[in-house]
Subunit: 138 residues, 2 copies
DNA sequence: CTAGCCTGTGCAAAGATTTGCATCAACAAG
DNA sequence: CTTGTTGATGCAAATCTTTGCACAGGCTAG
């Protein structure tokens, strides 16, 4: 029940999204990764599940919209995905050499929404990523 | 002298980069834009200067590395570029409908570097972008 | 369980961005 | 001004990501 996949599936169902073999496989891969991964990387790790790369791109996008998966960005712009692991919205500190990453919980959500409201903006979201070179790669 | 293009050019020279007609044209376009623009958009605004799109991509990347241009990201992952306008590092609040943007000076640079150092990371950088729907587009 | 609706999928094509390589030209030295 | 070095450019191709469309299959109603 607290298994991230099971939880994700029930949320997807609640939101009216369909549960397919492909989506289950994609979530499976995501749950095994220990750092955020890209759509291509996810697809490469799908073993028997032969699922089209396009489907991986589209499914991950859906998962983010449904709030069951968190979206990040690599320094080169590549989008990466990971489970929220119960914490929901968060950020990452990613090594630009090896891709390893640490969770960063500091966030300016409130200040940013305040500023945005000041300019009359609505439906405010934000993306933040921190990059560096990890101890192993130094 | 305080003209952003002139200033950019002298910095590029200092850093050993060459000043070409193409680069001057790209900077020119950048100085006229009132929001951050992508490489493709920059290329589309180059008028007589017939310069290859690849050159725009590569030049903008160089400008960022040299610190004369600031890099941002749109919500869909597209990289966008703008002059620092004398303020250096900063962020943007961008309308996801029309692309208009406001400058955001709030920044967690110090906290983030502190956290990163805590994990033993070096050469720390970060990207942050805020998105919403502007008053005109609501 | 079955039928039907409508989302999700695969394939193909378009679009965006990066990379490789031969040639060109900025600029420093003489 | 002439020359040589080396970074910058353009073209072509590879790579990555999105989009269009017809068909397949999950899910709900009966
Ligand atoms: Mn945040
Ligand atoms: Mn900042
Ligand atoms: Zn590393
Ligand atoms: Zn707008």
């Amino acid at each position: 029940m607290s298994d991230p996949i099971t939880k994700a599936i029930s949320v997807l169902r609640e939101k009216g999204l369909r549960i397919t073999e492909q989506r289950k496989a994609i979530l499976e891969v995501l749950s095994k990764a220990d750092s955020p991964i890209s759509a291509e990387e996810n697809h490469a790790m799908l073993v028997a599940s032969q699922c089209d790369l396009v489907t991986v791109y589209r499914s991950l996008e859906q998962f983010v919209k449904a709030g069951v998966v968190e979206l990040g960005v690599r320094e080169n712009g590549t989008k990466v995905y990971c489970f929220g692991h119960g914490h929901g919205h968060h950020h990452h500190l990613t090594c630009r050499m090896c891709g390893d990453s640490e969770r960063v919980d500091v966030c300016m959500k409130n200040e940013l929404e305040e500023i945005a409201r000041g300019y009359g903006y609505q439906e405010v979201t934000h993306v933040m990523e921190v990059f560096g070179v990890c101890p192993s790669c130094s």
